[in-house]
Amino acid sequence: MPRYELALILKAMQRRETAAALKRTVEALMDKGAIVRNLENLGERALPYKMSAHSQQHWRGGYFLVDFYAPTTTVQSIMEHLSRDIDVIRPNIVKHPLTQEVKECEGIIPVPLEEKLYAPKKRK
């Protein structure tokens, strides 16, 4: 079951270096006991705003997405490890969105206008 998703922003580098950095991060994840499921590349693009990380400033970055299964206790240590890495601009671990069930949305239930007429006054 997909548990966590890592939205990783790496420094804009040459292809070999990005490959090496990715390999390093994935190996670190596996050492902590996470099972990597899938790795996606969202492309390299200009960052929405100038970021400074590890005493360096970046304008461009490569976006990568890693989904993995991990025990809940190791998530903290993974975050710490990634924040220490120089090539990583910003790591973000999030619960996997596809695990959340899509509730059936029946539609907009029409509210009778009588209730709206006597709506309680909003108090600040």
Binding site: Y63, V94, P97, K103, E104, C105, G107, P110
Partner: protein
């Protein structure tokens, strides 16, 4: 019958039915009580007739109106979709009266926008 009339005068109009049943028990034993009781019970059974309408759900009910995102999963990663719900000039999230989404979807969208903003997407 005289006894009944006397009872009626004493008790007053509201308590008439009660008075009748009570009076029936006391001074008129035998057949008259039986007749009264039977007529009362028959009067109640008139309502359960077969020709009356049967209670059921409205068969001509239309399906409820759905918002544009109903049933679709909202992800923080599709920035293009989320950027449609924010103002191009100020960047603030549009209210429900502008987007026209249902309550749940509006909340999901706003949460996803916040997430994407924090994660620089």
């Amino acid at each position: 019958m005289a006894a009944l009339v006397a009872v009626y005068r004493v008790l007053g109009r509201k308590k008439l039915t009660h008075g009748i049943t009570a009076a029936v028990c006391l001074p008129d034993p035998g057949t008259r009580t039986v007749l009264w009781r039977r007529s009362c019970s028959q009067y109640k059974q008139v309502t359960s007739n077969e020709n009356l309408p049967v209670a059921m759900e409205n068969p001509y009910k239309e399906p409820l109106k759905k918002c544009i995102l109903c049933g679709k999963h909202v992800d923080y990663k599709n920035v293009q979709l989320l950027s449609q719900f924010i103002s191009p000039y100020t960047g603030c999230i549009h209210g429900r009266h502008i987007t026209g989404l249902c309550g749940k979807k509006q909340k999901e969208v706003s949460k996803a926008i916040k997430r994407a903003q924090i994660m620089e997407l």
